[in-house]
Structure formats: C-alpha cells, structure tokens
Symmetry: C2
C-alpha cells in the first residue's frame, strides 16, 4: 500500500483532487509542484496512516519506514543535501494537513535534522552560527513542547508547561546579560541557551532531547497524528462540523529559511483581498523571519505591495519595493494559481537568500462581503458561472452584511480610545473580559462580552466563540484572531498596540486610562476603532451593496422554496419585506398582550368568574388586536400573513411580585387572595405540556372569537380601502383533528359574521401548526380540514426528543461534548428523528389535500442545513426572523443546486 | 322505506339479529313473538328514524304516519280494541330501545290513549274507576315531565320541575284528606287530582295537556328520540363507550296492566342468579303494581320462588306459591329463552288479571363472579363452547374477584350498624356523602367516599361512578343502584331501610345514632353489612374460586401474549406470580431510594462536589440495592425480571421543608445555603422533559455502574445458590442510540467485572424503554444494540400528545365532555396516534433484530383495549400491576379470539 506521496522538482505523486488522502496542504503542494511552481521538495504521509495509527494503538505500519526513506532519498537528490549528513545536512519541517484546514489546531515541528553531528556542518555551510543555534533552540522548544511533553503524558496547567520553563530560562539569561531583545543574543548565547534547554528537559521530562535525525522525524510525525485527537482539535472540529474519522496527513518538507539574513523573508498572501473581496493582490511579509512569526502575530508585518498600503502601514516597506523581481515572480504565481483553481487562494511563501519558495496554497477564507464580491466579480470575469457564484457564498456569511453597525451620528461625537486593524466587520458592544474562560463564564451568565487578549491562540477558541467581539493588542490581518473571527463573521480588531493588558489584575491601560473587567467597550470592526462605553448600534443595511443585490437576484432565480418571516409588529414586517420576505409565516399574538394598556384586560380575562365576565374582558382587547392586525396586514399588502392564535399558558400573563399582585387586586377591586388562588390553580408542573395552544381556545372559545374578529375586522377595513390582503389563521398545538375543527368552526363563523356585518367579501385561509408528534402522525386526518400546515419545529423537537428547551442546560452541553448528539437539535433540525415526522406530516397531509400549503416557522427556518431538508421534503416555504431572510433565500438556492 | 316493524300474535316483522335497526328491546320482542311466547302486540319504529329525526331538526319522516297507522290497525285487530275508541279503547306504552341497554337513561310514557273521550269507556270496560283515574294521573305526570316540560325548553333545577309540583299537589291533597298512603285515594280523588294536575301544567308550562290520543302518541315518540341526546344518556354512553350515532328505536306496545287488582302483578326475573351465577330462576315481583314500581325500588318486592328465598325475605309470598300456574308458564319461558339465546336472560313480565305477558327479554347483566360461573357452567352444560365461555366474561369483570374484602377477623369484633341487600360484592370504606355532586367534589379532592342515597336515579350516575361504594335506603337487587353498581363491579348495598337520610342537614340516622357527612363507613357488599368507622380491608384472593381457575386455564390455553407485572418489592412480585404473572416487566428502582436509611446517601450523591465524592456516596447505596434485587430476582426465580435504572429527576429526592433542609445540612456538615443553591440548580421548568431517565446515567455514570453492580452481584449470588435467574437491564428515556450505547457499555463492563471477580458466568439482557417519539422513530438504530424494547406508553403518550399527565386536569375533563377526545389516552392507549409509534417501533426494531423481545410496561398494559392492540401489533408481552394480571391474561385471550 502506498503510504507516502513524493513531490519535488516539477513532479508529484499526488494531485489537488486527492485531498481526502493527502489533506488539503499535501494535495496542493503536489499540484503546485506539477504546475511548475517552486515548492521545497518533500513528501506527504497519507490520512490512511493516521487511521491505522489510531487503529493500532499508536503504532505506525511497518512498511512506512521504507517508503519514507525512499522519499528522503529523492529529496536529497534534488537538494544535493543529506538528512543527518555532518557536512551538508538536509533539514525537514513536519506539518499536519487535514482534508479541511484547521489553522493552528494541530502540531508543527521545524528544523528537524539538527543534531550535535549536523550542527557543525550546517554552520560551515551557512557561515552563520547565530542562525544555526537560533534554529536549534527553536527545534528544541517546539519539539520538547509538541512531542516530548505529550509523549511523557504530562498535562501541564495553562502556561506552566515545558515551553514556559524554557522561556523562563531565556528570560533569565537575557536579564543576566542585560539584553533587551532576542536580536541581542549571539551564536554563543544561543548555544548556551540550547544546552540549558536540554538540561531542563531532562530534569523536567525525564528523557534526553533526541540527537538522532530519524528519532526527531518519527517523533514529529507521531506528534502530528496524536494532535488530531487533541482537545483543541476536537473542539474546533465540533464547531466546524468536521468528522473525527477523517484524520490528518503529515507533510515532511525540506526546510527553507526566511531568517537567514536580510535577503530572506517570509509571508502570506491572498490572491484577492479577503476582507473586502477587491481584486488586488494582498498580503503581509516579514524580513528575516520564520513563517510562524507572521501567523502568530508576534511582530507586525509589512504590506505586500504599494496598492494595498493603508494609512496605518504606509511607512512600511512593501515587498514590491524591497525585492521587485521576487514580487513579480510571486505576482505571476498569483495569477497562475487563481486561474488554475478558479478561486481566491491563500498562499504562504518564504524567500531564502533572495530565492522564492511557495510553501502552501489553499482556497482562502474570506468574510461575507468579500465572498460576495469575489463570487460576483469572478462570474463577471468569466472565471466561474452563476451557479458556482451562488455556491461560493455560505448562507451564514450573509449574516455579516446584516450585522449591526455603530450609529454613525453617535460615532461622530466621540473620539476613539484607540485604533487597530479591522479584522472582522460590523459593530459590537460588550463588557470586557481578559481570558477565554471568563468570556465563557460571563456569557453563560447571559452577559455580552468582548474578549481582550494580548494575542489569541487556539486555546482561546471557546472564549472567542461566545464573545460578541475580539480585540487583540498584537497580530496582523492573518493572525489567529483575525483568521478565526473572519471564519465566523465576528466583529474583531487586532494589532491594537495601544492596549497594555494586565491579565492578573484584569485591567487594561490605554493611553493613560485604566479599564477593568466588566467595563463596556464598543468596537467598530469595519474601521478598527475602539470606543469606551456603549454606543448605539444600527441595524444592518445591505441594500447599498450591489454585489449582494446581484447575488440575491441570482439566488432568487434559482430557488423554489419561498421565504417568509416571523414578525409580530408592522415595523419588523416592513424590515423583513425589505430583506426579501415573501410574507409572514408566523405572527405571534401573545406579545401584543403584554402592552401595559392591555395586560389589565388580559388579567381580568384570566380572573373572570364566569363566561360572561371573561367574554367582556376579552372583548376589551378587540380594538387593540384589530389595530395590530391592521398594521401588519397593511405592511404585508399583497403577501400572505399567518397569524397564530394565543399560545402560552395563561399564568405567563399574571403578575410576578407580591406588590404587583396587590396592585392588580386594587385595580380590579378584588382581594389579593383571589388572585393568588387563581394563580395557584394555573400553576403547572410542566407548562410546556399543559394548558396552552389551542387548548386555551377550546376551553375559552371567546378568546378565539375575539382574535378571529380582530383579524377579520382588520381584513374588512383594508379590503374596503382597496388593499389586497391575505390573512391565514393558524391554530396552534393541535394534537387531534377534533381540536382543529372545534376552533375552525369559531373562525369560520366569525368570518361569516364580519362579512355579513360589513357587507363585504374577503378571502382567508385556516390552517394549523404541526408541532406535536401526534399532529404529524395524524396529519391526514387534520389535512381533511386544514388548508395549510406550518411545522413548529421548536416544539416538535421538544416533544420528539422529550427535551425541554428551558432545561437542557443541565445535560445538552455534555451531550454535545461527548458526541452523544452531534449538534444542538434546536439549532439545526434533527433530520433523523424529527425530520421523519416532518416528512410524514407532508406525505400524509398531501395524501388527502394535494395542494396543501406547507411551511416551517420554527427557528430552523433560518438554518441552512434545515432549509436544505425543507427543500428536499417538498415544503412550500420557510419562515425565519427578519435578519435571517437573506440567509434563507441563499440557502434555498444552495438547496436546489446541491440537490442536482 | 320500512320504518315500522310490527309484532304480535306469533308473527313479527323483525328478528333478534336486527338489534342495530330495532334496538335490543324491539328485536327481542319480535323474536319472543316468533317463538310463540305471549307478548302484547305492538310495533317498533327503527333507529334509522332516530337518525332522520336529528338530521331533519326534530322532524319525523312523512311516510312514518301511514306505517304507524297500519301497525295500529294490526294491533287493534289482535286485541279487539281501538286506539282512541270511546267504547273499548286501546292503550299504548312508548318505550326507548337502543342497540345496547341503557337502563333508565331514556324516556318512557305509559297509558297513552287515555283522554276525556276514552276514559268513560275504559271505566265501563274495567269497572274500576279508581284504576282508570290512577292510570290517567300516571300518564299526566309522566307525559308532562317527559314530553311537555322538555318541549317547552324548560330546564328545571333538580327536584323543582313539573313532576315535583304535581307531587306537591298530591301530597297537599292527601294531607287535606288525612290520607297516609296512595292506597287511601279512591277514584274520585284521583279524578280530582288529575284535574288539578292539568291546571297546574297549563299554568306552569303554558299549554294544555293533550286530549287527543295521536297527539299523545307522537309526543311520546319524539320525547324518546329527544332523550337519546339528553344529558344523562350522553354521560352514560361516554362511560360505557356507546357511540352517539347509533340512535334509539321506539317501541309502541299494547298496555297490559299489573295494577288492575289482586290477580295482577308485575315482575322482573333472571334465568340465572345475576349476583352469584347459580343456575336458579331468580327474580322479584310485586302484586297489583306497574313495572316501574319494581325497577324504581320504591316498594321492596317479593321473591320469585321458594328456591331463591333468603333470610331477609323468607316471610314474603313467592310467585311460585301465589300463582303456581303462572309461575310454571314463566319457568317454561325461562328454559325456552335461555336455550334459544344460549345466555342468561333478564326478562320483564306482567300478569293482568291472571294472564301472563312477557314484556322484554335481553341478555342479563351480571357481576364478575356470576359471569365466570355462568360461562364455565354453560360450557360444562354444553350450551356454549370454550371460546364462547372465555368471551362471556369481560376482562374488567375479573376485577371484582380481585376486590378487597373486610378482614374477617376484624369484622368478627364489631356489630354491623345495619344490613341491606348485597348488590355489589367486595369490601370498601370511605367517607359518607349525601349527593352525587358532593361525591364528585370530594373525590376530586382525593377523598374516598361512599355515596348514601334514599334511592339512586340516573341523575346520580356521575357521583356513583367516583364513589368507592354505594349505599341506598330503598330498592331491591334490580333497582337502579344495584344494576349500575353491578355493571361496574362496585361495592354496593341497597334497600337498607334502617337508614334515615336527611339530605338537607347532611346527616343519616341509623338506629338512634347520627352520622354526618365525612364520617367513615365500611361496607361488606358481599354480605350487605354496614359498619361505622374504618375496618381493615384484605387483598382479594380469587384462588379458591374453581370456576375462575377453570376460566383462566382456558384463557391461558388460548392467549399468545405473555403477561408480566410491574413490581418493585419481593412481596408484590410474589403476589403477582400468584396471579399468574410470567415475569416482571418493570421493576422501578427509584422507590428503593426513598427508604430513610438510604435517602441520606442519595442526597449526599446529589450534593457531591466532585465525581469522587459522588462515587463514594453512590457506592453507599450498593449493599441496599443488591439486597433489593436479590429479593426480587429470587421471588421471580425462573422468570425474567426487567429492572429499569433510576428515572426521575434528582430534585425529587431532596427535602421539601426548611426544617428538613436544615436537618440535612447538619447531618452532612454543610450549610443549608449549599443545599438550597444545589436545589436551585436542579429546579426545572418542565421536569418531565428535563434531566431524568438515562440522561442521569449519562451525566453521572457512577449511578449506572452502582445499579448494574447491584443487579449483577445479586445475580451472581443467586446463581451460586443454584437459582435460575434472568435479569434484564433496562435503560430508560433513550432518544438516540448513542445514549443507549453509552449506558450499555457501562452495564456490560460491570457485568464482565462481576463475573471475573466472582468467577462465575451468568446470563443477562440489556435493552431499553421506548417512551419518546424519537426512540420509536429511530428504533432500527436502537435495535442494532438493544436486545429488548419495552414501550413506556405513559411517557410516550405524554410526549406524543404534548400532555403532561400532572397538568391535564385543566382541560382533559372538558375535552372528554365535549367529545374532542373519546377517552382519556392515559387510561386506554391512543391507537390512532401513539399506536402508530408503537407499530413503527416494532417494525423498525424487528427489521434489524428479528428476535427482538418487545413488551409494554405503561399502565396501558392492564387495559383490555390496549392489550388487544398489543396483541395485534405483535408484542411478546404486556406488563401491568399485580391486580391487573388476571385481567390482562383474559384480555389477551379475548384478543386472540376477537382477531379470528
């Protein structure tokens, strides 16, 4: 079996389409090599070996050794150096490379092959002892941390591991010598440091730092495989939905050095701007540095070219200016790669003594606006077609365009505290916290937080995920923080050097001011500006974005699923209509009851001693409800509006405190004890399964009558005004068709009465929510009467799983963490279980009423995976919150294209 | 269309098998006529006419009039009299007659045809003005109540209607004359009374009492049809499960009179004793009386014959002694009817001036023991076969044999307060109440009540239904109270003349003692004895009953479904085994946790701050649980025992009061606030859908481990003792197979560990409850791992309907009353909805595991209709409470026979 795929000197065993076997990095290294692009030669150990490694308890297959040695021979032949050779040693990097990119989540070891035997020859060859010992101490630090500490089974506390100890030694050494920076250390210093490192490793980890190149190589390979199931990698995969079975490949590649002197450099670049989508070659580079220096964000890099300089870095020397020939070659590869891959590429390069090497290419991550612009531009450039353009934008990326921004008027009145790099667009505000754990804890308490870090690392991912925004003192636009935030479309500012963070005291000093944990900040992630306090945020407004408009037009041409919105107020309805909503799929009526003017009548209704009393209280609500429906129906003129009858249990409308109860008693002229008795009667052990939904209307038909009358009187009025309105009356929580017919009768009788009273005809529909398993199971019986179905998948998920959404906090996080559930079924529809009921509801419903209109109005209506399911299942529409409407429109188009 | 079926003089249009069209009474009158048994001629108006009557808003079909007149002509020809004839008038009775008997639930009018024109002729013919005017006033009373008051749309309060007014007139008249009894009134008196009645009717109801015979006839017919949808009839149909669409027939039959003098009589008889099943002709009769006098229980009747005289009525003259020839003829008809119908018959007869007329025959109601005895006797007599014998006993009737009885030892020590007729067997105790409404209200408050009434009427049915026992001052073994109680197998004593009931003051005086509402009585319904206070009740013991044993043997030969029991304690297990249980289908383990010795460890476990602390607290429970399982497995040696892991949410185990919390804090050496905080964390909004079932074991695997270990250590010990035990470990509330496999792994690992430790092998199974819709929907995935399924239909009903069993009180009674649900889905499985999930679970489960063992352990496991469904669906067993085991065995046999 072939475990090792060689690449080098224009020839490669692999290809770009072998990502599953070689990982993304390995496949693309092979492809670049075949394209004639200069890639340091090396080889990829396949993901199959990773699988075998886990199947065999951490043992590698026997035949691997010979295949690796063959590939090393080929590499040596190209480079004219030899692995472990005292005279002219070949050094390797060992890097992970999974099918999908998992930046920073797995291990890397550089400079493998430096040993006591090869160091002298390497010094002789480079004539640079300082560089060689610096490389050696880097190898020791990385290897002891990545390979040895883990192999020893030691799980150090954060910041207390071997790397920390070695860094302390370095710090102490520098202090003893009076050095202020690493550049002050000479070759002898680094040699002494390396010796101290090896002593510390022996005492701390109980084993010698390996002095054999093959020991180093195999240690590195195994460390990469092991890191596939490391804690951070698992956590990242869970968030990104990457299956654990995929495994990682290992790329072993000839070391090239960007840190051998002033004509060496390293950098990363994007073939187009990943933040804006502009068709400009965009990147960052560092002179005399190794690759991780750019990615880690420890030094602020220079711009790639003149065209992409900004106000913040216009003084910095661009690569285009510094090494024009190299830049020209690089720009040529940019064109070659983008035309070849037909997508924006994210590349890494190293310049060793003036010679350019390409280390990686991959499809570049981009934020939402950039993704849209690139997709539309590339279609217009003829690089891709319309369908590809649609598929290039993840529906969730639209969210970014729909993000709130700081009210510009308010922003004008206040000076920014500081400025950083605009790594994630949109505005956000929150209370500042200084560690990822704090961010998580505060967020769990329901607080909105902004995570402040010197720089972020993969260990911070959980805190970054819950934060409203991320703010770092160090790092560039391709730093970890920027990369991660861009992937999530989160507001993010990086490289804000003005921040002086003191994690221990949980304070940050900015230009002489001190802020503590819990203080409010507001960030403008689009401009990179940081403000103290809370500034007002404005709703998103994507209409001015022409590429967005173009993309959505294409999406609308393709999709077959209609998209409605869930809205209870005319303003929301109008906004959703602006976002492209084709009607209201769920207008909840209970929110209308909480208005202070109305709640008294609601409470009177609840406390009524007789049906007459209750009817008179209910009818007090009629004018209010009629006005509500008038506004909403008017805002949605020409489009259908589905109004759901009162749903929550009545106790939700009762006062909470003793004081409020006494006040209510006074207003109604009854004793508090009467109210308390009624509240006691209303108490339920499981209100989710109690007296709510249509069970209210069945027991108190006057409520149904009032709500019907409000809808139809509003309809009559609008019809008389010449407006074309389409009310759809929805009966909630039906479990048996007899509940439906009981309520339908009242609705139709009321409609007839209103038509008679007002001497006018109007059209309307009556239908029901399918949100109980029994409703899905008996959908044929229900559809004999109901004109439409709307799946209430929130409640359907609750009852199908037996999960109370309010109570799963006790075990759902654990369920996800342990892989018992692969996702939160309230976020994305459980296709396996709940999905069966939805399918059954559709099939049974349409079996008796062919033209049954069917939609979904649970929160899944805005989730792309769920929308895909809805499309496949033959629904007519999805309904979601106004801000999800564009997302749903695009997801509906994706569903069509993915179904082809 | 033929609407009217004539019968008379040995010829009839109808037959016994035409019950759907003619009702039970009409079909059997036709059948008896054809058998040559003397039946007063008349005709039956079909149930189809009832349907037409309701379809046409209370109008009868036009062609009915002619058909009725034809039948009247035929009747006149036979009787030699004429309807409405002044000289020789024919009188009719008008009676209801539905497909199934609904005693007393619908209307009857007698003596139709008495008018100012016919009275003189009838007096001349009978030479008995007193009898004629008595008959006339009876007609007036009945007709004004049954027809006129209802036609006027008046809904009087209980006891305040026209009948009450007329009775007041009669009472006043008697007082004014100094009469003490009705027999004191002569013909003139009754004539005067009749005139007063008619005046009162005119003033109270606003219309004249009709003086035309056809007006009377049609009024009576319509009244019967209307009464089909009267409140009591609807309520009775709901309890008995009779569909409202059936409708009633109307029987119009020549009046024969049991009250024309001393050689007239009326009676009811059973071809065998309905209380004991003995093969003796059993009945009651009254001299010079009309039929309703026997049924209404207003006079205590005489025994039918010498053989059935009791200590209580040995002084009374039997019909056998009084009119031996008539008795002999009657006894002949008894044999003829029983042989013809092959079942015990309940007949009514009237003797008019020495001539015997049969007025009705029908299959007689009987209590459980009687049903069993008759079924077994008739099989042994060759009258029916084994299968018929099995089907003759309703499974629910076995309940009566399983009823508790008063501890005979205790009964010996106390004198009875009073004695009555033993109308319903078994012992019962409760607090006395005096009205049906009070019975219902007290029962709703969770109290056990005995309903005391002068006599019961159909208006009392709701109170009788909820009462533990019924006790009346008047009436015989065929009175309303006795009939209804027998139908329900309820403890009942009637005709206890010692009771002096004062409903207004809610007191009863018995032999000089006074008892008030709420005082405790204990009844021996088998002996008819009433005791003051609470006597201990003993469990039922059907084993001594040979016919029962025979019947159960037959049932066991026929059934294919196994019957297990739900039992948590060795005593219960042993008892259930005595009842024929073939294993334990559900052994709940949480009840074991409440023992005072154990609850502290349980609470320590809940309050544990770390996994180690929790593990140590959990392991304190191990010895207790091991002993529990040892006892249960030993009691069920040779039979399977399904043990369910801990199921309820943990908060259920925490203390309730502040005092208990402080005490617990003291015992554990922690502060009360720690306990309160933890309890706060445990609080759930919908605990039914919260952290319970296997979700506990997933989060706290040490609980699963401890419970597994307890089961397997007990198994190992018993195995070593040479006992053959079959534990089946059941994981509750599984919604996804990953939950199952998570728990199964712990179970199997623990079993392996115990086998290793104890150096012994034993067998066991691991399976799961299917009690969430998602479990049924993904049963194929689960069955790949689980060895058995047990449907937990209680929870499955809750989640499928979205009904919390604890909270449906707010609307379920209304749902049943309004016909939105036709039964409580927690009592009898909802085959339409929940049943689909059960079927799906069975099909999907067996699709991947052909030999999957499947049972049901919800409370439906003891419900005959649900058992029928389980049989049809291919389940292997049902499991129910010990006392329901015999019921389930018989129901399982019925399921086989009904499925043929």
């Amino acid at each position: 079996m072939k475990h090792v795929y060689f690449f080098g000197n224009g020839k490669a065993d692999g290809r770009a389409d072998m990502k599953n076997l070689l990982g993304g990095k390995g496949a693309n290294l092979a492809e670049m090599t075949s394209l004639g692009i200069p890639v340091p030669p090396g080889f990829t150990i396949t993901t199959d070996v990773c699988t075998l490694y886990y199947e065999n308890n951490g043992h590698l297959p026997e035949e691997l050794d010979g295949q690796v040695r063959d590939s090393i021979l080929q590499t040596e032949a190209i480079m004219g150096t030899k692995f472990g050779d005292p005279e002219n040693p070949l050094l390797f990097s060992v890097r992970s490379g999974a099918r999908m990119s998992m930046p920073g989540m797995m291990e890397t070891v550089l400079n493998i092959g430096l040993t006591s035997k090869t160091i002298p020859g390497f010094i002789a060859k480079t004539n640079n002892p300082r560089f060689v010992y610096d490389s050696y101490r880097r190898l020791i630090m990385m290897y002891s941390d990545v390979v040895m500490e883990k192999a020893a089974g030691i799980e150090p506390k954060e910041g207390k591991g071997i790397r920390h100890r070695l860094e302390s030694i370095l710090k102490t050494f520098k202090e003893s010598k009076g050095y202020t920076s690493d550049v002050d250390l000479n070759g002898d210093d680094w040699k002494a440091i390396s010796d101290s490192f090896k002593d510390e490793i022996k005492s701390a980890l109980g084993s010698e730092f390996p002095d054999d190149p093959y020991d180093q190589l195999w240690g590195g390979v195994k460390a990469v495989f092991s890191s596939w199931n490391g804690k951070r990698a698992i956590s990242y995969r869970r968030i990104e939905g990457i299956p654990g079975e995929w495994g990682t490949a290992v790329n072993v590649q000839t070391m090239v050095f960007g840190n051998t002197g002033d004509d060496s450099a390293t950098g990363v670049a994007f073939t187009r701007n990943p933040a804006t989508g502009e068709n400009l070659f965009f990147g960052e580079w560092l002179q005399n540095a190794q690759g991780e220096d750019v990615v880690a964000g420890t030094r602020t890099p220079n711009p790639l070219n003149l065209a992409t300089k900004t106000d913040g870095n216009k003084e910095s020397l661009s690569l285009e200016e510094f090494l024009p020939d190299v830049y020209k070659a690089l720009d040529g590869y940019r064109t070659k790669l983008e035309n070849h891959y037909r997508d924006m590429q994210d590349v890494e390069f190293t310049i060793e003594e003036g010679r350019l090497w390409m280390l990686q290419t991959r499809s570049g991550k981009r934020n939402g606006p950039a993704a849209i612009k690139m997709a539309v531009d590339m279609k217009n450039e003829g690089l891709i077609n319309k369908e590809e353009a649609i598929l290039r934008v993840k529906p969730s990326q639209l969210d970014e365009l729909l993000h709130p921004m700081i009210d510009p008027a308010a922003e004008l009145t206040i000076d920014a505290l500081a400025k950083g790099l605009p790594a994630g667009p949109g505005g956000a505000k929150g209370q500042i916290v200084f560690t990822a754990d704090d961010a998580e804890a505060w967020a769990n308490d329901g607080k909105t937080v902004i995570l402040l870090r010197e720089e972020t690392s993969p260990e911070d991912v959980h805190g970054m995920h819950v934060a409203a925004a991320i703010l770092t003192a160090k790092g560039g636009m391709t730093s970890h923080a920027a990369l991660v935030a861009r992937g999530w479309g989160k507001c993010c500012i990086v490289g804000c050097a003005a921040l002086q963070i003191d994690v221990d005291s949980k304070e940050v000093h900015i230009n002489g001011q001190t802020f503590k944990e819990g203080d409010w900040f507001t960030l403008n992630g689009t401009a990179g500006k940081i403000y103290s306090g809370e500034l007002p945020l404005l709703d998103a407004n994507p209409e001015h974005n022409q590429e967005y408009a173009q993309l959505m037009t294409w999406a609308d041409e393709v999709r077959t699923l209609k998209v409605r919105t869930n809205a209870d107020r005319p303003e929301d309805a109008a906004q959703a209509r602006g976002f492209g909503a084709q009607g209201i799929g769920l207008c909840r009526t209970e929110h209308m009851f909480f208005d202070p003017e109305r709640i008294l009548a609601v409470r009177k209704m609840i406390l009524a001693g007789s049906q007459e009393e209750r009817r008179s209280a209910v009818m007090e609500l009629l004018p209010f409800q009629r006005d509500d429906f008038y506004g909403i129906l008017a805002a949605m003129e020409g489009l259908p509006v589905t109004v759901r009858f009162l749903d929550p249990p009545l106790h939700e409308f009762m006062p909470q405190t003793d004081e409020q109860i006494d006040e209510l008693a006074g207003e109604l002229g009854i004793t508090s004890s009467v109210i308390r008795t009624r509240m006691g009667n209303l108490h339920e052990f499981n209100p989710m399964l109690g007296h709510r939904g249509c069970r209210l209307g069945v027991a108190y038909p006057e409520i149904t009558e009032m709500q019907s009358r409000a809808i139809f009187e509003a309809t009559a009025k609008l019809t008389k005004e010449g407006k074309n309105v389409h009310p759809e009356v929805m009966i909630p929580l039906v479990g048996t068709f007899t509940e439906y017919t009981n309520q339908e009768k009242i609705v139709r009788a009321t409609a007839a009465a209103v038509m008679e009273e007002q001497s006018i005809e109007f059209e309307f529909m009556v239908g029901t929510m399918i949100e109980l398993p029994r409703a899905a199971l008996t959908a044929d019986q229900i559809a004999e009467h109901a004109e439409f179905f709307s799946f209430g998948t929130n409640d359907l998920t609750q009852t199908t799983y037996g999960f109370s959404r309010d109570d799963i906090g006790g075990f759902l996080p654990y369920y996800i963490a342990e892989g018992i559930l692969d996702h939160d079924p309230f976020e994305s529809l459980d296709v396996t279980g709940v999905g069966q009921l939805v399918k059954m509801g559709v099939e049974k419903g349409r079996s008796v009423r062919k033209n049954l209109k069917i939609g979904i109005c649970g929160e899944h209506g805005g989730d792309p995976a769920s929308i895909d399911f809805c499309h496949k299942t033959g629904l007519d529409y999805v309904s979601c919150s106004p801000f999800r409407v564009p997302v749903a429109r695009l997801a509906a188009a994706h569903a069509v294209l993915n179904d082809k």
